[in-house]
Amino acid sequence: MTINVATEGEKSCVGVVGRLDTVTAPELEGKLKELFETAKELELDFSELEYISSAGLRVLLGAQKAMNKIGTMTVKNVNDAVMEVFEITGFKDILNIV
């Protein structure tokens, strides 16, 4: 998994490339925690995210909760397979998917 971050002022766009699973999720969690210090607007770009398991959902839930207090978080470019996971688990309603 690769994480690409582009920050402009208080807005950070995070591109997640590859798989968000038990092994890779902690890395994204660490990166997002850094961004909570500075970003008021967090945008996650999932155009190259191929796979997400509950470990990844955990990280997203933590991030959404944190950003709900600080500012906003949106998720964009979700593919069909990942969207299906979001639908089954109710995460479609928790995340702001654009």
């Binding site: 699973d21 038990t22 092994v23 191929e50 796979y51 997400i52 398991s53 509950s54 470990a55 959902l57 955990r58 839930l61 959404q64 909760k65 709900n68 397979a81 299906e84 996971v85 089954i88 688990t89 109710g90 309603d93 928790i94």
Partner: protein, 129 residues
């Protein structure tokens, strides 16, 4: 195949399952949910079955008109199907984390089955191809 029940084996487990599914020409609509389900169960065994001690899990994987996988471990008795479902309508603040993995397995697979036989947990799930 037998694997050490540890997170660092996850990639090997998923690679083996994915390769077998692709050789069987399973559609992508089947492959990703199946791999997620494999991860959820494997990681549950790795994290909980042996209470922090070393242990292994035997995985049987058969693909014919369906892809069926069976996990056999000798850990503490654990029936994943006995867990109550998480509340998937709860808001972010109210959401509990627990139970999500097995819930995803139950919702995306065509069948799930658990038996405790002797000192073994035997958990299977399958998806029609």
């Amino acid at each position: 195949m037998i694997f050490q029940a540890i997170d660092s084996e996850l990639d090997n487990v998923l690679a083996w399952v994915e390769k077998t599914l692709e050789e069987a020409m399973a559609s992508p609509k089947v492959v990703m949910p199946f791999l997620v389900a494999v991860e959820e169960i494997f990681v549950n065994v790795a994290h909980y079955a042996y209470r922090g001690k070393e242990g292994s899990v035997e995985i049987e994987f058969l693909v014919d008109d369906k892809a069926k996988i069976t996990f056999i471990d000798e850990g503490i008795p654990f029936d994943p199907l006995a867990k109550p479902d998480p509340d998937v309508t709860a808001s972010a603040d109210e959401r509990q984390i627990g139970g999500l993995g097995i819930y995803m397995v139950k919702k995306s697979m065509d069948g799930v089955e658990y038996h405790r036989v002797g000192d073994k947990n035997i958990f299977s799930f399958w998806k029609n191809l």
